[in-house]
């Protein structure tokens, strides 16, 4: 097969792609959403920083995990090339096993109550997901520690998807933890979700659990990524939670206010830091406590 053959075959395969009724309007709507989101996040960050500087932040010292319980951003945007392990301690430690109280307490008198809800029940979806995820992680892997906040972001997708990515250390191994929750049809199966070797089982409350062990995408200097992927579906609630643990030690792209993308690299070639059972426990726990709008 020559390169010309390949080009001909591939181009011949492209089907007619009818445009949507108003692509321009859709694009402008997306851009507007991103801009609104960006503006609100910037404002929330500014308020947080001003409050912190003025000594207005009061409270018990944060959640047991040292993470501000609000779903709104509680830290400056993470460095897109944050290496792990970082030689510099995080200004906002999120090590949930850390005995050191968080420098950013989880509640304070605020003119923006919706952005800074009480630590008990975060009012935002992002906050509830973060709290549920950290709790699930603490229970499933008590010795694990995150490098920074596990901050959930809205994907702006039609399926109400929220996701977070963070570097994690557990059992002496480094890697990346990704948790994503979204609305689903409730009919998702191994066949519909993943092409790789996938095992389907049933959770304690009737959840459908799809597990894909020891697989991954990409490599770094010949060191492959090894990932565990667990998808939990609650058919009745039409909810799907995905937990991914892999051996990537650098996050090159976080979900942000302006775009939703998660990318990591720096694969160690080792097993991921959590086991399949731990990933499954986290996914089940988060799914049990998640209620998407």
């Amino acid at each position: 097969m020559t390169e010309q053959d390949l080009r001909r075959i591939v181009l011949d395969a492209v089907p007619p792609l009818p445009p949507p009724p108003d692509r321009l309007a859709s694009v402008l709507r997306r851009a507007r959403l991103q801009r609104v989101r960006h503006a609100s996040v910037t404002a929330a960050c500014a308020v947080t920083l001003v409050a912190a500087t003025a000594g207005l932040l009061v409270g018990p010292g944060g959640t047991p995990f040292g993470v501000a319980s609000s779903g709104s951003p509680s830290a400056p945007e993470p460095s897109p090339s944050a290496a792990f392990p970082s030689p510099v301690p995080s200004p906002l430690p999120s090590n949930f096993a850390s005995p050191v109280p968080s420098p950013l307490p989880s509640s304070f008198p605020s003119p923006l109550p919706s952005n800074f809800p009480s630590p008990a029940v975060p009012k935002t979806v992002e906050g509830r997901l973060e709290a549920a995820s950290l709790d699930a992680l603490r229970r499933a892997a008590p010795g694990a520690s995150l490098v920074r906040d596990l901050r959930f972001q809205d994907s702006f997708a039609d399926n109400g998807e929220y996701g977070a990515i963070q570097l994690i250390n557990a059992a002496g191994r480094d890697g990346t933890l990704t948790i994503v929750a979204r609305r689903a049809t409730g009919k998702e199966t191994c066949a519909s979700e993943v092409a790789a070797a996938c095992t389907q089982s049933t959770g304690p409350n009737g959840e459908r659990v799809l597990s894909v062990p020891a697989t991954g995408d990409g490599s770094s200097d010949g060191r492959p990524n090894r990932a565990l992927v667990v998808i939990v579906i609650r058919p009745a609630e039409k909810l799907l939670v995905t937990v991914i643990v892999d051996n990537a030690t650098e996050i090159t792209q976080y979900p942000s206010a302006s775009q939703y993308a998660m990318e990591s690299t720096g694969y160690t070639g080792q097993l991921p830091p959590l086991t399949l059972a731990q990933a499954k426990a986290i996914a089940l726990d988060v799914a049990a406590r998640t209620d998407l709008p």
């Binding site: 395969a13 089907p15 996701g163 995905t242």
Partner: protein
């Protein structure tokens, strides 16, 4: 509110270049819905900087770069798992429909077996016929890495039995 001229220029660009960009997006994603999603994501990003993009030598090159970098950075989307419909877009109701669908299926499966970065390289290098230097620049990689990736991907595609049969069919037609 964006100046009317700016929005008009962007609207003209969307109308004129979307089809070509959508074709690339389809080759990357293998799915019409995801291709449209990828294109719109890239266009929305471009619109936020359109005043500068429009003044550039080639606004299309900028948007195309956003399409490819967004695609590569979407690698986790496989696991986020948009539910595939299992249906390929319709062709006009004449000709060999089954054969056409089979070709699309074979090509998307063969490309789907490549890594996302390799697939992007194949589309840019072999389908769009872009020079190695441009591919490397578009993907933020080195020329050497692109050459290696392109060579390996081509070898994989050459060994793909589905594509081999398509080549033979083409030669016999």
């Amino acid at each position: 509110m964006a100046p009317p001229d700016l929005e008009r220029g962007f609207a003209d660009f969307v109308a004129a270049r979307s089809d070509a960009l959508l074709r690339s997006a389809w080759l990357l994603t293998g799915d019409a819905g995801r291709a449209e999603d990828l294109l719109q994501t890239a266009l929305a990003k471009a619109w936020r900087r359109w005043a500068a993009v429009e003044r550039a030598d080639s606004p299309e090159a900028y948007v195309r770069r956003v399409v490819f970098t967004t695609y590569v950075s979407w690698w986790r989307r496989r696991w986020r798992a948009e539910t595939p419909s299992g249906e390929l877009p319709d062709r006009p109701g004449h000709g060999d429909l089954a054969g056409t669908v089979a070709v699309q299926d074979a090509v998307t499966r063969a490309l789907g077996r490549l890594s996302r970065r390799a697939r992007a390289v194949v589309v840019l290098r072999y389908v769009e016929d872009r020079p190695v230097a441009e591919v490397a620049e578009l993907l933020g990689s080195t020329q050497g890495a692109v050459k290696v990736l392109a060579s390996r991907a081509l070898a994989e595609l050459r060994a793909d039995p589905d594509l081999q049969s398509l080549v033979l069919d083409g030669a016999n037609a």
